[in-house]
Symmetry: C2
Subunit: 307 residues, 2 copies
């Protein structure tokens, strides 16, 4: 086969000639090179299975997911499902912040099981902050700013996303949307704010308004699950989730993004093009029902978090 190749193809001046290639004593070297190349190529391919074959050139960008959490009946199953989702995503750093005095062994086990890089820390809500993860997300922003190199590792770029543990996420939210955010990415969220879907209103690729029912006049009328910001935006500001957001009629998203120095012209909308016939929703604002528990709280030695 190879010996029938036109010899000219291999005669690159100053490199190697077909004559050398035909030297049988060098064949073990060629075999070594080929085996090494095949191992290298397969190792660096992102193929997992089926359409989870999603990561390509952008996968060197670190996806940084910030998840506030707290002890409740459904926290462990919620975190298990979120872990199963995030574990599909390459190059992801998960920051989980417990609203409590100490971290939970059950959550630690789940995080350990993902094989992802993560930091799990406890910060009980400080006085004046609402009990909605505001303080925990602020602690995460400070952690990102003071541990940037550790989080990025060999990645040169990062994107920060606030993903709560009870929402539902399509893998493509992380691989197709979040990892491609250069400044501020915004997309639709299902079952949110009293609507079947909240979405940016896009004309000629630009967002001038938001298709939401609740408080549509906010500069950024978007749910926490509906945006991500490039790490550079986080590092170039000291914006935090304060004790209140008066500009957001109670919702902190617009205050954070405005305090980061962003305006509507910075928005990169994702998923509005309606390719394949219908626009698809990759983030769903779901809540898990508290279970019906009656009588004694016997756990029979099983690891289960009781409220």
């Amino acid at each position: 086969m190879w010996s029938n190749f036109p010899k000219e193809r291999f005669s690159l001046p100053g490199m190697f000639s077909a004559r050398k290639l035909n030297n049988p004593r060098l064949f073990p070297l060629y075999i070594g090179f080929i085996v090494f190349f095949v191992i290298f190529a397969l190792h660096h391919s992102t193929y997992i299975k089926g359409s989870f074959m999603v990561e390509s050139s952008e996968s060197s960008v670190m996806v940084i997911v910030v998840t506030p959490t707290y002890k409740r009946y459904t926290r462990v199953p919620d975190m298990i499902r979120m872990a199963n989702t995030l574990a599909h995503v390459k190059n992801l750093y998960w920051i989980v912040i417990e609203d409590g005095n100490k971290t939970s062994p059950a959550v630690e086990d789940i995080l350990e099981g993902t094989g992802l890089q993560y930091t799990y820390m406890a910060h009980p809500t400080a006085k004046g902050f609402p009990k909605k993860g505001w303080y925990q997300r602020t602690m995460a922003l400070r952690f990102i700013r003071s541990n940037t190199d550790q989080i990025l590792g060999t990645s040169k770029d990062g994107v920060v996303y606030f993903g709560d543990d009870d929402n539902s996420y399509d893998i493509r939210l992380f691989t197709d949307y979040i990892r491609n955010v250069k400044t501020l990415g915004i997309w639709a969220v299902g079952y949110c704010g009293g609507s079947p879907v909240e979405a940016p209103n896009v004309t000629d690729g630009k967002v001038a308004s938001f298709n939401v029912q609740w408080s549509p006049k906010r500069v950024f009328a978007v749910d926490m699950a509906g945006f991500a910001v490039n790490l550079k935006v986080v590092l170039n500001s000291d914006a935090e989730f304060g004790t209140s957001c008066k500009r957001g009629t109670g919702a902190p998203e617009t205050c954070l993004l405005e305090d980061m120095g962003l305006d509507r012209t910075d928005i990169e909308p994702f998923g509005w093009e309606g390719k394949e016939g219908q626009r698809k929703i990759y983030a769903w604002h779901t809540k898990t029902k508290p279970p019906y528990i009656k009588g004694k709280l016997e756990t029979f030695g099983y690891q289960v978090e009781i409220e």
Copy 2:
């Protein structure tokens, strides 16, 4: 390197000799074999990432998951989370049965995205059956019995599990428990039947009773999420989910298992040993809250299922 190997090592009578190996005209053939072997070995390794490196010798057993489903607000996000979970499991066949006249394109998309083998079919609940997936699970049992070879593929053995789309599952439920069931496997389920956990009561490896609050006298006092049966048990009976289960005080699990000819001595309990200090729960009976939707049901062209 190779040329320094003792020649005797390669002198297998009737096969090939070191003399032939030294023939440079055969080297392209050897290169081909080596590249093929490396690709084959890597392709058949079960490594995905981190601790999802879970599958070993038992992975040739087909895990057959049966999921009845129906159109509702939270069905798509529920199915997305379940798909993200099952997509981690090798050698899994997913049978999804719509309680309706036709299948849903949104669900079809989710199934397609997993890369798993699956069958998605529509069977509206027949007269007399309760609206709780009984008829759909019966249709799945008939499908398994009449399409066994197609489902098994190259696998020699299978296990059938009834997994609803709103529950939460640890990956190890499928890899460590279900795939190892020889007859009837039973394990703990979290947040079930009014208890933090329902579990088999195990003494000396045997189950004589069940730690449940609701109807503990049933022969099999177990939730749908808490057991799996070997495919042989399914094929050796014509048991189905009938229009009622009088022996189960309304719960169909015990009738199905009794009709399959099983009794308590057949139970293989999983996860009760309390290794690592605490017994762990790998299946959670969760429900997703219906979202708060008010006013008009505008979807802005996004793919969203409306009740």
